[in-house]
């Protein structure tokens, strides 16, 4: 059996997490290879359906990385993202996927080390949950 290489889509805000991820790389504190970064102008740009599509296309996990509370460049974008993630957690439950596969973190542009740590933590959570059942089923579907 193939060893499990989790894939986690990380929606990163340009003003904090995206820069933090860069910084982490520069400091030789690389974040895990499992993390696939999608740059956003603000986590408030995320819509429920974006997160669902990530899972539908086979992601094992989703990470939303926005600014620290109170520091959103657009005042409340990170708070909206948090509320939408809560809603997505409900939907994932209805679909039959573990809600823990989707997580939000709040960091600043200067927190490269923390970004790498928290991202690594989430990758481990996802690794423990195993491959997304949807991914398995995509493969089966392809094979069939």
């Amino acid at each position: 059996m193939d060893p499990f290489h989790p894939e986690v889509v990380a929606f990163c805000c340009r003003h904090c997490a995206y820069a933090a991820a860069d910084l982490a790389g520069g400091k030789r504190q690389p974040y895990p290879a499992a993390i696939k970064i999608v740059e956003l102008p603000c986590t408030g740009r995320i819509d429920v359906v974006n997160i669902l599509h990530a899972f539908e296309d086979g992601a094992d996990g989703v990470l939303i990385a926005g600014c620290l509370n109170g520091s959103c460049h657009y005042i409340k974008g990170n708070l909206y993202a948090r509320q939408r993630l809560d809603y997505v957690h409900g939907l994932l439950g209805e679909i039959g996927l573990e809600a823990e596969r989707a997580r939000m973190i709040n960091i600043s542009a200067a927190m490269g080390v923390q970004f790498a740590e928290l991202a690594g933590e989430h990758v481990e959570t996802v690794r423990a949950l195993g491959p997304s059942p949807l991914r398995r089923k995509i493969k089966q579907g392809e094979a069939a």
Binding site: L52, E56, K137
Partner: protein
């Protein structure tokens, strides 16, 4: 507007058991502005249903997304006429009227409701909708300061508040304002409390749903041919 919310996903999935191709149709009017049946909600539901079907290991479910401006008028459904034949079922994200309009226009296709239609109301705060009218067919808002005792008083009282009204809240649910508290305060503000002293006679519910399904006819607007068919005169 008409306010509706998504049914539990499992309930929708069970309606679609056995279906392979489904057309999910949203509506661009009321349910778009209450965030239950607009384009985004159609996409969200379509993705959710596809994933759920994959999890349940059935045959794959193909969900095509579509929008119409208004599901509650046959004319607006015409653009669906050709493609609809290719689907095992149509999942309507319209209100109950939209679902039925689709079913009437396309009698050969199974039309299924994805939403629970709740009430006629308004958004009272962002993300919050409240009921305002039950369509009783004989509006009394002139007598009650513009606050509806039929839809907003839990006991549909016409002569003042019940004994459970406290601090402006309804005894049924502290999240709800007491309609009669509001009616009284409004009357005080308008200097019209005297109008609430008269005893309001029992309502004639015949104009409401109690009189059976309702219908409105405006002869001046009808096509002459239809008039002839119907009345025979």
């Amino acid at each position: 507007m008409i306010v509706a919310e998504k049914k539990p996903l499992d309930a929708i999935a069970r309606m679609l058991d056995g279906c392979g191709r489904v057309l999910a149709v949203g509506c661009g009017t009321c349910v778009t502005v209450c965030f239950s049946g607009g384009g985004k909600e159609v996409a969200t539901l379509a993705a959710s249903l596809r994933m759920k079907r994959r999890m349940e290991e059935g045959k794959p479910l193909e969900v095509t997304e579509a929008m119409v401006q208004r599901q509650c008028e046959w004319e607006y459904l015409e653009p669906l006429a050709e493609q609809i034949k290719e689907y095992d079922a149509v999942l309507s994200l319209g209100c109950g009227v939209g679902v039925q309009t689709l079913a009437e226009r396309f009698p050969a296709t199974r039309i299924l409701p994805a939403l629970d239609t709740l009430f006629m109301g308004l958004p009272s705060a962002q993300g919050v909708w409240e009921e305002r009218c039950q369509g009783c067919g004989a509006c009394v808002l002139d007598k009650t300061g513009g606050i509806c005792p039929v839809s907003r008083c839990a006991k549909q009282l016409f002569n003042g508040p019940c004994g459970g009204s406290q601090n402006g809240r309804c005894e049924v649910d502290a999240a709800l304002p007491c309609a009669w508290h509001m009616i009284w305060e409004r009357a005080e503000a308008l200097g019209m409390t005297e109008s609430l002293m008269a005893i309001e006679a029992p309502k004639d519910w015949a104009t409401s749903r109690d009189g059976g399904p309702r219908r409105m006819v405006r002869d001046d607007l009808r096509l002459p041919a239809e008039q002839g068919q119907e009345g025979g005169e």
